[in-house]
């Protein structure tokens, strides 16, 4: 096949880790929601329970009767397998992420594909990119082969800020992990602060997911999916 009609887009490792991460994130989200509804109240500081004043309470029914939700019933309690799956998916996500990070650094994938180009390190480049996105300008042919500036910034933010934060705040809720690394929870302001932050970082990741899928659809669902599955742009 002539090289000009087949362009390599995403390497095998990028594709595999992308889909494994997507699957894990879905599992973590569903099980995370299941875990949250056993106590849909959020606090700040070290401790919090039904006898203390919450920062906020989610207006949803709970899966345990301990929390007064105002609903006259209790949701089915699926906390057992949810927690098992949550932590198993977390392991797969972390190990996959580590593999991707090592690959990204060693092969220069991060530098080439995610770091903004030298010409884009300017306020003008950023404002131009934002304006064209807000105008829903159709992406050019070249954008099928390389991430644009906003994509690069968003992906860097998700990979290096949001995911590490969601993992850190998660581990900070583990009494075992915290006994070995108490700074992990002390730096966050306490066990309940870690829990609340974990919730907000999750919301940020969900927002990213929605925008990401929306943008993929807008740019061309079939061409982008083909590239992330087969690795080639036709």
């Amino acid at each position: 096949m002539p090289a000009s009609t087949v362009a390599a887009r995403h390497s095998g490792l990028v594709r595999v880790t992308h889909w494994v991460t997507a699957l894990c994130f879905f599992a973590l989200l569903v099980t995370g929601f299941e875990i949250v509804i056993s106590h849909p109240r959020f606090y700040w500081g070290e401790t919090g329970n039904v006898l203390t004043h919450p920062w906020f309470q989610l207006p949803i029914p709970a899966s345990r009767s301990l929390v007064q939700t105002g609903y006259g019933y209790v949701m089915p309690d699926q906390n057992g397998w949810s927690r098992y799956l949550h932590f198993q998916a977390a392991w797969v996500l972390v190990l996959t992420g580590l593999l991707y990070a090592i690959y990204g650094l060693l092969t220069g994938h991060f530098r080439k594909s995610l770091l903004p180009a030298a010409a884009d390190w300017s306020r003008k480049a950023l404002s131009t990119a934002i304006v064209s996105h807000l105008r829903f300008t159709r992406p050019s042919e070249a954008e099928a082969r390389s991430y644009n500036l906003l994509q690069r910034l968003a992906y860097l933010f998700v990979i290096f800020i949001l995911f590490p934060l969601v993992i850190w705040t998660g581990l900070a809720m583990s009494p075992g992990f915290v006994s070995a690394f108490p700074a992990s929870v002390n730096l966050l302001g306490g066990q309940q602060s870690a829990r609340t932050l974990h919730f907000f970082v999750t919301l940020a990741l969900v927002l990213f997911l929605l925008v990401h899928v929306g943008m993929v659809c807008f740019a061309g669902f079939r061409s982008r999916m083909r590239a992330m599955i087969t690795g080639r742009v036709r």
Binding site: I35, V36, S38, H39, R41, E46, T47, G48, N49, V50, L51, T52, R64, S65, L66, N79, G80, W81, R83, Y84, L85, F87, Q88, A89, A90, W91, V92, L171, M173, S174, P175, G176, F177, V178, S179, A180, P182, V185, N186, Q191, Q192, R195
Partner: protein
């Protein structure tokens, strides 16, 4: 097939083979060092084993955070509990004078301790957090006897690897490995916030295990068995927790 893709195939194959051999070796080592949890079977067994093994290695000597008096929760939460059975009510009516903690199994001197006897041992006080798997938590000052002291008194045999402990409520029993059983912060609490341990918080006797979630800190303890294998207890999954779908190891 070009040379390039054949090399890739060989490299991938070698990496996969190394991975399989590595996993096999890791499993052997994990088995020898007691890093495989009793609920390692089933579809969640891999994650559970990774969690238990990694935390067991990380936390051999780590200490749960201890707080200051000013951080004690007022009032401490006594979460809902099932109606206590007749056996408990009978002992309660007698002021728990007849409460006994029986310790048996792989010990040189099986014994039955009254609360008075436990209180005569050197007491231990700690201000730690109790975290429930539901997500809530509170801090209290607990007072009691270190479990290691009681195990020393009965003389655990060298081949012992776990301590199984039972509540007066027959559905609630748990177990921990010897590393946790002998840990300085693991103790049998009979006092809380300067008073006798309230019934709602597990009085007259509960286990305190601050490096794991609250469901391991079983209330109303009456019996402990020291053992080298968890297979003979219940369904052999380690405790009532996996039988209800929860992890045996509750460090997270």
């Amino acid at each position: 097939m070009s040379n390039f893709s054949r090399r890739k195939l060989i490299t991938t194959g070698l990496a996969a083979a190394a991975g399989v051999v590595g996993l096999g070796a890791a499993e052997r080592i994990a088995q020898a060092y007691g890093l495989i949890p009793p609920d390692h079977g089933g579809i969640y067994g891999l994650g559970e084993t990774l969690t238990y093994a990694s935390q067991r290695l990380l936390t051999r000597h780590s200490l749960a955070r201890e707080f200051s008096r000013s951080q004690i929760s007022k009032p401490p939460l006594a979460n809902e509990m099932p109606p206590l059975n007749d056996a408990y009510k009978h002992l309660q009516a007698g002021g728990f004078a007849d409460w006994r903690l029986a310790v048996d199994g792989m010990v040189a001197r099986p014994a039955s301790f009254s609360l008075g006897q436990l209180k005569s041992y050197p007491s231990h006080t700690q201000i730690t957090m109790l975290q429930c798997e539901e997500g809530w938590s509170y801090i209290a000052e607990w007072n009691g006897v270190p479990l290691s002291h009681v195990l020393d008194a009965v003389g655990t045999l060298p081949q012992a690897r776990y301590v199984v402990y039972f509540s007066i409520d027959p559905d609630w029993w748990e177990s921990i490995d010897m590393a946790d059983a002998l840990h300085p912060q693991t103790f049998l609490a009979y006092g809380m916030n300067g008073d006798e341990l309230p019934v709602g918080n597990g009085g007259p006797l509960r286990l305190r295990l601050p490096r794991q979630l609250g469901y391991k800190s079983v209330k109303f303890i009456t019996h402990m068995t020291v053992t080298d294998s968890l297979k003979g207890f219940g369904k052999g999954l380690g405790s009532a927790a996996p039988e209800a779908g929860y992890a045996w190891y509750a460090g997270i």
